[in-house]
């Protein structure tokens, strides 16, 4: 009985901690705070935006984004130049994250978390259209030096099989 109560309480604590991480990540992305966003990622992070459901081999089929840490750092450094015209000025954005589910926990403590998002983006570089992006993110999260960090983020857009407008910001 005591053990069960303790587990529920631990789960609640973990869920709250995961939520705080994802909310922080979302706010940093919304506000184009690229370096702080990158600091939430592990050294072996993988950031993947597949061209459909994430059930294919990305070594044989093309993806919108398939970044390892090195390429993700390059992406961020490009944004930081100030002359990445597709994000100059940065798009004002706000996203809502919901339907969060802790899907599994590996033996090494890595947690898999699914969540839905809706993102409103003002395409401020040219057309000034309000663009809506939606999908499901799957995060792989593990503890590094006591802090939860993101080891993988896969974003399955609902329109991933379709032609997309400029996606030069961080999803």
């Amino acid at each position: 009985m005591d053990a069960a109560v303790s587990t529920v309480s631990d789960d609640r604590d973990l869920r709250a901690e995961v939520e705080q991480l994802l909310f922080l990540e979302a706010r940093l992305a919304d506000e184009s705070r690229y370096e702080e966003w990158l600091a939430l990622m592990t050294d072996d992070v993988r950031y993947w935006v597949p061209s459909g459901p994430a059930d294919y081999d990305p070594d044989t089929r093309i993806s919108f984004v398939n970044d390892n840490r090195n390429r993700l750092e390059t992406r961020v450094r490009q944004l930081l130049t100030g002359v990445r015209y597709a994000q100059t000025p940065p798009s004002p954005m706000r996203r809502v994250i919901s339907n969060l589910e802790i899907e599994s926990t590996d033996d090494d403590g890595t947690i898999t978390v699914g969540s839905n998002f809706v993102l409103y983006e003002l395409s401020a570089q040219a057309t000034n259209e309000l663009r809506i992006w939606a999908g499901r993110a799957t995060h792989r999260i593990r503890r590094v030096d006591g802090e939860l960090r993101i080891a993988a983020k896969t974003v399955e857009l609902v329109n991933a099989t379709q032609a997309l407008p400029t996606l030069a910001f961080l999803l």
Binding site: T60, I62, F64, Q125, A126, T127, E129, A163, T166
Partner: protein, 429 residues
């Protein structure tokens, strides 16, 4: 008079606009991008009246494999039948006009309409009609509609809806043929393997801005400065970025609207285009020598792939293919796929795939900036248009022994070559 963009731009493009309203020596008016009547005329004279690229045969390797595309605005299916032949036919039921394929690609045994169930074979013949007793038309005449002409070269499938565009050979000309051969020659077995799927980039601009910016050697240093700052050492540094009086790369107008940037003439090393040293792809180099002999193989290892437009909609974008898909005067999809090669290692093609993801598409390191510039062009021309200056390098362009116009890599030789052919097709009286 100085050399002009159009040959003699005097014909009628729309009932309102004459060619010389849109084109004058060294300049083109933005109305050519914004006027709906110009777009309508382009659909008729270029995208249904002329040859356009549809797809590559290696996209549909097995019987029943299909992809969906457009000829202008008209949806088509490219499919391989059980006998191995590749067909291009309307994605439109001959009964009441419902699209048959909803997906971009797939495999099927037949095409069945969701509305009343008419069913077509992989060759487009009408096979099945529910409740056939009431059928009054001859089913032999009700196969899927086909473009007037379909032809392929080295696996590149082209179609012409009208059927009176002359031969594909005439359309490609020696310049176009050479470009397609060149792309295929990079494979040690002479075959492309277009199998990684396509990404689409949706842009609120006219289609012609893509034919131009894909072949513009002048903008790289400015518009794409953010990339060179964070990825130093690319092949473009020596070829384009080193400065106007230093670079030796050139631009070439091969005629018939097929235009090219010859970055390779400015490269400073072999295999710069692949970003590797020779030792990393020793097997590839050996296989290329075995196929082509040492001279041609060494030349290919230096040159890499072509960077060229096959008029009007196929971009041979180095290790990418792209299709320019016009949807409206101010709406275009730029599709791309990596130029994977037959006869190379999985690691080789994986490198090509990763490079394609880095450069191209809506999240690539290059093309989003081109999209932003194109969208701002479209906005800038508003309702009234306005002149663009395309005279750069007119005074220093030369005609070589083959009759190609050539110039400095930053010169607008390619853009003028594109518009010159556009004017020939559009300014019919």
């Amino acid at each position: 008079m100085r050399p002009i963009i159009g040959t003699e731009p005097t014909g009628q493009i729309t009932s309102e606009l004459r060619a010389d309203d849109l084109m004058q020596p060294g300049r083109v008016n933005g109305l050519a991008y914004t006027d709906p009547a110009v777009f309508e005329a382009e659909l008729e004279r270029i995208f249904t009246g002329g040859w356009v690229f549809v797809g590559h045969e290696s996209e549909v390797p097995a019987a029943g494999d299909f992809v969906t595309r457009r000829l202008g605005l008209d949806p088509v299916i490219m499919v391989r039948d059980r006998g191995g032949d590749v067909h291009v036919m309307a994605n439109r039921c001959s009964h009441r006009g419902v699209t048959l394929c909803q997906h971009a690609s797939g495999n099927t045994g037949s095409f069945a309409c969701i509305f009343h169930g008419w069913t077509y074979g992989l060759d487009g013949a009408l096979r099945g009609v529910p409740q056939p007793g009431g059928m009054c038309s001859d089913r032999e005449t009700l196969g899927l509609n086909r473009p007037g002409q379909v032809a392929s070269y080295r696996g590149f499938v082209f179609a012409n809806a009208s059927g009176d565009a002359g031969s594909l050979d005439e359309h490609l000309g020696p310049g176009g043929i050479e470009l397609l051969d060149w792309a295929c020659d990079l494979s040690p077995v002479g075959e492309l393997q277009i199998s990684a799927g396509w990404l689409g980039q949706r842009v609120s601009s006219n289609w012609k801005m893509w034919a131009e910016s894909d072949l513009d050697g002048y903008h790289l240093g400015r518009l794409h400065a953010s990339l060179w700052r964070v990825v130093p050492g690319s092949q473009y540094e020596a070829a384009v970025l080193a400065g106007e009086n230093v670079v030796t790369a050139t631009t070439r107008d091969r005629g018939r609207g097929h235009v090219e940037l010859e970055f390779w003439r400015g490269y400073d090393r072999q295999l710069a285009w692949l970003g590797v040293e020779r030792g990393q792809v020793a097997d590839y180099c050996e296989a290329l020598i075995a196929r082509h002999g040492s001279d041609r193989a060494e030349e290919l290892l230096w040159q890499g792939p072509p960077h060229a437009l096959i008029f009007p909609n196929l971009f041979l974008g180095e290790m990418n293919l792209a299709i320019i898909d016009p949807l409206a005067p101010d709406l275009t999809v730029h599709h791309h796929t990596p130029l994977l090669l037959g006869g190379v290692s999985p690691e080789f093609n994986r490198r090509v795939l990763r490079q394609s993801e880095a450069a191209m598409g809506p999240a690539g390191f290059l093309l989003p900036d081109d999209a932003t510039a194109a969208e701002r062009m479209q906005i800038a021309f508003g309702h009234s248009g306005g002149w663009m200056d395309l005279s750069r390098g007119m005074d220093r362009e030369q005609v070589d022994a083959r009759g190609d116009r050539i110039g400095h890599v930053s010169d607008e030789v390619t853009t003028r070559g594109f518009w010159r052919h556009w004017a020939e097709l559009m300014a019919t009286s």
